[in-house]
Symmetry: C2
Subunit: 405 residues, 2 copies
């Protein structure tokens, strides 16, 4: 009485080098050689505790009077006070004029993106565009809404956007373009010029096809910036922008599942878009965002991230790897260093070489960027320091393999 659908096994011999699989491999190896002798750069799980103001706020809430309300449901859209606090922060930082009604609190960026994908399923041919390199979960994001995901190949020179390739990917079925800046995995911030070019292109294409093409601004890394570059506020360039935000990275809150969907007031058909978003959030499983952490956000909306470790790790690894001879992208933001497999090697080959030195980094083939690998430096300083000899050895072995060919 089985359901044959469940019994279907993945095709034999499928190469499995996904993020979670590599992370689990590393955990197994750590049991053998000790956790201090493995270098796990696989996961985007913050390695620094939440800022002290956040930890203090959690303690206060744990001691607060009204524990019924703190642990009860909020409205589907989230607590008024939380959304008002975020609106004020936006108004101060970006000069906009928002209220609580510009926000719906959700369970992290995944739920935010699922919600947006659901509303952009205009008909059975709807397409979303992802620009490589991109986070592989965008495949699920598109599928959840019933949309086809179209991939724009990467600009591996600057990790900005190949505008001709983007234009070629847009067609009458395109409903949205996902813009993730600072970018996972490249660490790049899309420049104001890049955003302006996308805006111009999408305005032209929206007119040509007679319907809005939305920018889906996936911005969990907005607060993690290491240079003096500005992360453009996209609605200023392009009103038909829907923002997906998460506190997972900025407040080291990945397990607390708290974020929001937001639009500025200048989006066309504000009421229609918001009616659709509120309904879609329920379909995306968002009864309400976690109440306790909504209250934390209300009090800590402008708390700065704890970046000391990330700054140290970024500089150490970028300089260390470049000295070894490994080519990297310029990690302006987020907490990823994007490295090129040396000597024309494939990324899975270089990843395997690194594993021999107990270093675990993720081939970016599944990020739409073959030949590159993602290194998450949200790890301890010791992990970064300890990994450099292994990277040097792996690089030398790659060199020898290339010479022997």
């Amino acid at each position: 009485m089985l359901n044959p659908k469940f019994s279907a096994k993945p095709a034999a011999g499928t190469k499995s080098l996904g993020i979670r699989e590599l992370s689990e491999l590393c955990a197994e190896r750590a049991k053998v050689v000790g956790i201090e002798n493995v270098y796990d750069f696989t996961l985007g799980n913050p390695s620094t505790p939440p800022p002290q103001a956040v930890l203090d706020c959690i303690k206060e809430l744990a001691e607060a009077e009204d524990q019924v309300a703190i642990h009860g449901y909020s409205s589907n859209q989230g607590f008024d006070e939380t959304r008002e606090a975020i609106a004020k922060s936006y108004n101060r930082r970006f000069g906009c004029n928002m209220t609580k009604d510009n926000f719906i609190m959700v369970s992290g960026a995944t739920t935010a993106l699922h919600t947006i994908s659901i509303i952009l399923n205009i008909d059975e041919n709807s397409e979303l565009i992802a620009i490589a390199p991109f986070f592989p979960a965008y495949h699920t994001v598109a599928a959840v809404g019933g949309n086809k995901l179209v991939i724009v190949p990467p600009d591996t020179e600057n990790f900005q956007i190949n505008m001709e390739a983007l234009e070629a990917a847009i067609n009458p079925n395109t409903q949205g373009v996902i813009i993730n800046s600072p970018n996972n995995p490249s660490g790049t911030i899309y420049s104001p010029e890049t955003i302006q070019k996308i805006a111009n292109l999408l305005i032209k294409k929206s007119e040509e096809y007679g319907h809005a093409i939305y920018i889906i601004a996936d911005e969990p890394y907005r607060e993690l910036v290491y240079t003096d570059e500005i992360v453009p506020y996209i609605p200023d360039y392009y009103p038909n922008t829907i923002i997906a935000y998460s506190y997972s990275k900025s407040l080291s809150f990945a397990g607390d599942r708290i974020g929001y969907v937001c639009t500025d007031n200048n989006i066309e058909d504000f009421d229609g878009v918001w009616r659709a978003l509120k309904k879609a959030a329920l379909t995306a499983g968002n009864v309400c965002a976690p109440s306790f952490f909504q209250r934390v956000i209300e009090k800590c909306v402008d708390v700065e991230p704890n970046m000391d470790d990330y700054i140290y790790n970024r500089n150490l690894l970028m300089n260390g790897l470049q000295e070894i001879g490994i080519h990297t992208a310029n990690p302006s933001g987020a907490f990823y260093l994007f490295v090129q497999a040396p000597f024309g090697m494939s990324a899975p080959e270089f990843a395997e070489l690194c594993v021999k030195h107990d270093i675990y980094i993720v081939p970016a083939d599944s990020f739409g960027c073959p030949g590159w690998l993602r290194l998450s430096y949200c790890v301890s300083r010791a992990t970064c320091e300890g990994s450099l000899p292994g990277f040097a050895a792996a690089y030398k072995e790659a060199e020898a393999m290339a010479a022997a060919k």
Copy 2:
């Protein structure tokens, strides 16, 4: 450049008496007459704080050493320790032999049910069955998986299950039957005899159609029982059972979004079902269940619910309304009293009469049970006490209206 899909407004004149709408109406009224003068029985939002052991555990976690791990991601399936703790509790309570691998932690019962619905979409004709009265969100549950929801009419005599009607609803496309006991909204516990009858029927039908028909056991109210009735452990009766659990109600944790999906070991094709469940949880938006509260559950898995207020409210309202002459179901569990609109009135009509006395109760038309209303008694004792004169007046007015016809 609008998307016409967003601009489509709900049909004019649609009668909107949903749970959240009534609750908002009540909140508006409270601003006028004062919160102490309205009687809001609309929401299933616990009115009692989490048990003291849970509150103490939250304080301990807030003070704990390793705040990085406490606020970081767990694995997709949840922390091993949390799942092991729950498995041990099951083994002790139900005599089974589970491990962590029988559980996936999710963001509340909604995510659990969405996950199960997704795996039960075997093909485009797949159907799930809900037994009236049922929680209206089951419509979304079915739709998220791409399944059709088929409704079995209620047994308004005992609020058990009309077995002939259930049998008539099952066909070759039936993939699952949702069993919600203790029931929202009737408060009824399905008896061992009822569960045995369902099991017999589904075994027969699974054989007849050559595929498993699963029981989806939606059990957030399992711990809230007021009588000496036993809530049957359904896998003992029917191995092909998938359990959706949430701590929202038992630990007054509705805003903390924590629950699980589980199956016993006796389910057919355990590996296949679990491969499907783990994948579906991601589609349902479950990156990981909230980590902080997973840790709370790990420590507090066997903490008993705070039921004193519910016991008081249940007895007061059941006796009070029955004395007035209002017919109610027998509320063995959960925190709902299910009442019949008196004098052959429709439920929306009686709800409107109650609103005139500032009492807000939910017509169960949307629960598949016209002529009945749901009263959530997870409210203050004062709300219950203060409502009785209003109920008596509404009943008298209903009587007068009936006499005038």
